[in-house]
């Protein structure tokens, strides 16, 4: 905890010393985008060396001041053993006069820059997101601590009935007990609900996780720790569209360009993609929607610029195929063959046939 505070002070002292020596003060942080990551044998997007610098220029002075002020907030929160949501941090800035943020996206970006600069994650800075971390149902007992007493709490994820266990913001201290065969990470809450409703986890002896779109950092870290400590395979199940492939699955597996500084811990390199693949759309004769202009663009961009896709011929081919098919299909399109078709046919067939997966 105090380590982060010391790091922040160290940076501030550096700035201060520079000013006293009449030198232009600077703040440097890694560039956070796909052009500054590589994908190799480590199995996730690793950060490369490109940096951005903020200093006394018209284009960077505002974020220079904002970064310093955001560091003040972080120091206060961490020293006070408190926390601030990303949105709260944004509202705190409304007190900063000229240096205030206009949109939360701006304060989020500055926050991410500080993370990257210190090579820590957001929670260590005392900031938490407000979005849900993801939901769990199935053969898993999560061991957490009581906030007040510090006593161990055993949370049995089979006992949420038609509900589910929510992944907390910080998952680092959690411990797990499970004998599940696999983890199924699902894109939509709708599909998750269907599988829970019909006790799919019981039939298949698995853990179901609803990602609700692109998985949050907490969700990614949770799955990573769970699968690594308990040596359980992870299967991803998303819509058959460029967003499902390139954003949801890709981020789950190798992380993102934007959070490249923390990808090492916040991704699940052993995850496999079981569907819905472009082949599935054909083989299962799924009802589809035409691809839009943005989808075509997204596919081209993935093939051209995404280091993960570029590394895997299978993915490139799958995307090219989708491009030619000119359609996309949702997970829930499987309902065409009956509401429980996904449980009775699709998932068993896919799980049995690793050749139908994508890496």
């Amino acid at each position: 905890m105090s380590n982060v505070v010391n790091q922040i002070k160290g940076i501030a002292e550096d700035v201060y010393r520079k000013i006293l020596r009449k030198k232009k003060p600077q703040l440097t942080s890694p560039l956070r985008n796909l052009s500054n990551v590589k994908y190799g044998k480590e199995g996730y997007f690793e950060l490369l060396g490109r940096k951005k610098t903020r200093t006394l220029t018209a284009s960077t002075i505002k974020s220079f001041a904002q970064t310093l002020r955001m560091m003040v907030l972080s120091k206060e929160v961490v020293s006070g053993n408190d926390m601030a949501t990303k949105r709260e941090a944004y509202y705190v800035s409304k007190n900063w006069g000229e240096a205030r943020f206009k949109e939360q996206a701006e304060s989020d970006a500055v926050m991410d820059d500080i993370e990257a600069m210190l090579e820590v994650n957001r929670e260590q800075l005392g900031f938490i997101p407000e979005e849900k971390g993801g939901e769990i149902a199935g053969k898993l007992i999560v061991i957490d601590k009581d906030r007040e007493t510090g006593k161990k709490i055993r949370i049995d994820c089979t006992k949420f009935g038609s509900g589910a266990y929510s992944i907390p913001i910080s998952v680092e201290e959690l411990k797990f007990e499970t004998n599940a065969d696999f983890i199924l990470a699902i894109e939509t809450a709708g599909m998750f609900q269907r599988l829970v409703k019909h006790n799919y986890w019981k039939k298949s002896n698995c853990i179901l996780i609803s990602m609700g779109g692109v998985p949050t950092r907490a969700c990614r870290r949770f799955i990573r720790r769970l699968s690594e400590t308990k040596k359980i395979p992870v299967y991803a199940f998303t819509d058959g569209d460029p967003y499902g492939f390139g954003n949801i699955y890709r981020t789950l597996k190798v992380g993102s360009g934007n959070a490249a500084h923390i990808n090492k811990y916040f991704c699940v390199p052993n995850a496999k993609f079981i569907g819905i693949t472009p082949d599935d759309i054909e083989n299962y004769k799924l009802p589809s929607h035409p691809l839009k202009e943005v989808d075509f663009k997204k596919i081209k961009d993935l093939i051209k610029n995404d280091p993960f896709i570029k590394q895997h011929k299978e993915w490139e081919n799958a995307l090219k195929k989708l491009y030619q098919m000119k359609v996309r299909a949702e997970q829930q399109a499987l309902a065409k063959h009956g509401l429980n078709y996904v449980i009775s046919h699709y998932l068993p067939e896919k799980l049995k046939n690793p050749k139908s997966w994508l890496p």
């Binding site: 700035v15 009449k22 505002k62």
Partner: protein, 556 residues
Amino acid sequence: MMDEEIKKESKPIALELATKQREISVAEFFSKNRHLLGFDNKKKSLMTAIKEAVDNSLDACEEARILPEISVEVIDMQNERFRVIVEDNGPGIVKKQIPNIFARLLYGSKFHRMKQSRGQQGIGISASVMYAQLTTGRSAKITSKIGPNDKAHYYELHINTRTNTPEIKKEEIVEWNKNNGTRIELDIEASYSGGSQSIDEYLKETAIANPYANIIYTNPKAEQIIFPRVVEELPKEPKEIKPHPSGVELGIMMNMLRFTKAKTLQSFLTQEFTKVGPGTAKTICENAALLPSTKPGDMSREMIEKLVDGIKKTKIQNPPTDCLSPIGQEFLERGLRKEINAEFYATTTRPPSVYRGNPFQIEVGIAYGGKQPEDQLIRVIRFANRVPLLYQQSACAVTRSIIQTNWRAYGLNQSQSALPIGPCTVVVHMASVWVPFTSESKEAIAHYPEIVKEIKLALQECGRKLASYVLRKKKVGAELEKRGYIEKYIPHVGEALKELLNLKKEDVEKVEKLLYQILEKERGEIEEVGFDEKKNVEYDEAFAKLGKKGEEEENE
């Protein structure tokens, strides 16, 4: 049928017409066409009458190398009648010449020579006298004295318009408490208002172009306005010269050849023209394929044409500059500074050039910015031989030259074939041994291509200076904006460091001070541009207001 009808007329009609045909005197002609002399309306007539007198006074003083002291008095005599009195400290006029100079049109010393002066034609002052006579019936009252030991002569004069000769109504010797000078008093029909194109504007602009003159003006409201002398030295006297060969047209050349005393073409060229020495004359003859020994009187029209062509092919030195008296960049700018509180001034004096054999020289001054209106056509001030031109702006070569210049390149707006729009005043002065006016009232300069070209070159020179200023101003503006933006965040840096490092108040102040210094060091010093109302110490607000439409005048 037709033939028969004509036969019925006993006499050819031409004979009858011939009985009505007779000579028209100049005076008669101008009395009917007084607009040609600048007496087309009452307001303008007041200006013209005074202008002619003042122009003469200034010319006389300069020729006599006397620093001009001119007093102009306008007395409102009610019923649109005004008494105009102009008095100078000039050399005076010998008794014998007084009636001719003031009461005879086309009588003067300036028409036949090649020398820069205000008056040219010998019409102006006698036209004023005639105008007074036509509108009020009163005689012109002239007093003149040529030296401290001479007597002052007083005349009351009329013009006989039939014969264009003076009629002396009264003549006497008077006491005049003055060493030398001339005084003219005219009663004329006129009207007075102070706005643009008024006598006020004329005198003010005269003061700008003649900084060595002291002018005391008493307006019809009996308010005295003094335009004090700025320079205690007369400009160098412009020399009288011979014509310059380039630009002399065929007709003029024929005349010159006919009346020359030279025996050969060679000596004709060297004697009658400026800047033609024996060498140049020889080259001209070669280029014209004429023998230098040709007798001028024997030359045929074809030969003269060859001669004119030969001159065009020959490189001849520019005419001498000593025949011209430009206002000069320094005084042009000082005049502008007095009149306009602008943020940028630029002036240019072109080297002398020639049109139709007449040397001339163009000067341009620009005043940009300040409180001048952004969204109106620029103001144009025109001078010819130091005389302000207030009328016929659109007919003038100056205006055409300004319109033909691309002002957008210099940072002003401009529509096609229009004056540019912007906070700018342009002054153009043409100095010449003979200014070609479009009419006798001398209001607009004629469009000789050589003149238009020179004016445009001068405008472009000033325009480039203006453009670099406007660009600099834009750059500095952008830099100031950036710097201001950066400075906005310096306190935030201080504040953050204070919190992060528990700095004391003094330390934070130091941090902020140092940050400003670092910024200054990094980005360099900012040049001062832009409008500072108090920077121009020469600006004279009361002076600037003269001759402009104020609110009170607009009600009249």
